[in-house]
């Protein structure tokens, strides 16, 4: 049974490992799969690397939604700086995200605490009953 389990498992790891080793290599048109194949008549699309995260220096007194790029980066993220409505929406999404994260975590912690209390109480009760029963058996 153990050998039967190990063989496909090793196969899966080998496949995953091979994929990991291959992941760094640039994809060639010949290697395109159904997921990333360009349309037949379309030129191949050059993927851009994700831009590096760059901080903006925010003045402490600046009101929310009025953040500016620093003077030495005049062309930095114009769409982020200039639209207060978008800025407001970004803040809303940030609060909603952290609210949701904490709701999930608190629900899990609360459920764990309730279950733990109930199990510990039940265990104490059962131990007591077992001790009583064993004591009565000894007397009998």
């Amino acid at each position: 049974m153990k050998a039967r389990l190990l063989i496909p498992l090793l196969g899966m790891f080998a496949f995953g490992g091979a994929m990991a080793a291959d992941a760094g290599a640039p994809a060639t048109p010949g290697a395109a799969t159904g997921l990333n194949a360009p349309a037949a008549d379309a030129p191949p699309v050059e993927k851009k690397a994700a831009p590096a995260a760059q901080p903006v220096q925010v003045p402490k007194a600046a009101p929310k939604g009025a953040m500016a790029a620093p003077a030495d980066k005049p062309d930095a993220a114009p769409q982020f700086v200039r639209d207060p409505a978008l800025e407001e929406m970004r803040y809303q999404h940030l609060w909603v995200a952290y609210g949701a994260i904490w709701l999930i975590i608190f629900f899990f912690v609360f459920r764990t605490w309730r279950q733990g209390e109930r199990t510990a109480g039940e265990l104490e009760d059962l131990k007591q009953r077992l001790a009583d029963l064993e004591a009565s058996d000894d007397r009998g």
């Binding site: 899966m12 990991a20 994700a50 901080p55 733990g116």
Partner: protein, 223 residues
């Protein structure tokens, strides 16, 4: 004084510190603005999700080979805590995507493979919770975890391999202040993960002991 409550206190303080760093001190990201701050919990949660599933894998492997109940309970606790963090990832990710991509969800390789990974462990959890307490269920669940965990490799390499839209290897490109906040959040999440893992393990161990006592009481006629 017992060490566990001390660690709970440390975790609570650390979480306050993490929020202070995320919302007050960390610099604003130039392109995404405030919504980028989701990253400081989103990525560490993904790491904790992988860690939970890897611990479940190790516990399941140990259980199948050694047949030790402790291993089985360890695997169950790992899956549960991993699932919690997996849900955090799947909830916080789309909120970020709504702003960055203009849509809540894309059938993009990283997102799709992550969803599948979480669904596999959801199946494990459902099986363990509602499938009864028999030996067969535990063995079946262990095999499911063993075959489900290597999918982490697919999730990790999905962006490079299938050229997904999800950002990849972002941490190395971060500004030093952002990187520091990220590592602090990572440590805090690890602390939270460890505490939850210990608590869940103890709870399952107590439940298993209660079950054994109940069986004994039944044999002795005390139930």
């Amino acid at each position: 004084m017992k060490p566990f409550p001390i660690f709970v206190g440390i975790a609570a303080v650390a979480l306050v510190v993490a929020h202070y760093l995320i919302f007050v001190t960390v610099p604003m990201e130039v392109r995404m603005g405030p919504v980028q701050r989701i990253f400081y919990f989103h990525v560490p949660s993904a790491m904790m999700c992988y860690l939970g599933f890897i611990l479940c894998f190790l516990g399941s492997l140990g259980y199948l080979f050694k047949r030790k109940t402790k291993m089985d309970l360890f695997a169950l606790a790992g899956a549960e805590v991993g699932l919690l963090f997996g849900l955090v990832v799947l909830v916080s990710g789309p909120i970020w995507a709504r702003i960055e991509w203009g849509t809540w969800w894309k059938w993009e390789p990283r997102l799709t493979s992550m969803l599948l990974l979480v669904l596999i462990f959801m199946a494990y959890w459902v099986l363990r919770t509602y499938g009864g307490r028999g030996e067969g269920v535990r063995r079946f669940a262990a095999v499911l975890a063993i075959f489900g965990t290597p999918n982490i490799l697919f999730v990790r390499n999905a962006v490079k391999k299938w050229r997904g839209d999800h950002p990849d290897d972002v941490v190395t490109t971060l500004d030093p202040d952002m990187k520091m906040t990220f590592y602090v959040c990572m440590l805090i999440m690890l602390l939270l993960f460890s505490l939850l893992m210990i608590t869940r393990y103890r709870m399952h161990r107590d439940a298993r002991t209660a079950q054994a006592i109940r069986r004994r009481l039944g044999r002795l006629g005390g139930l």
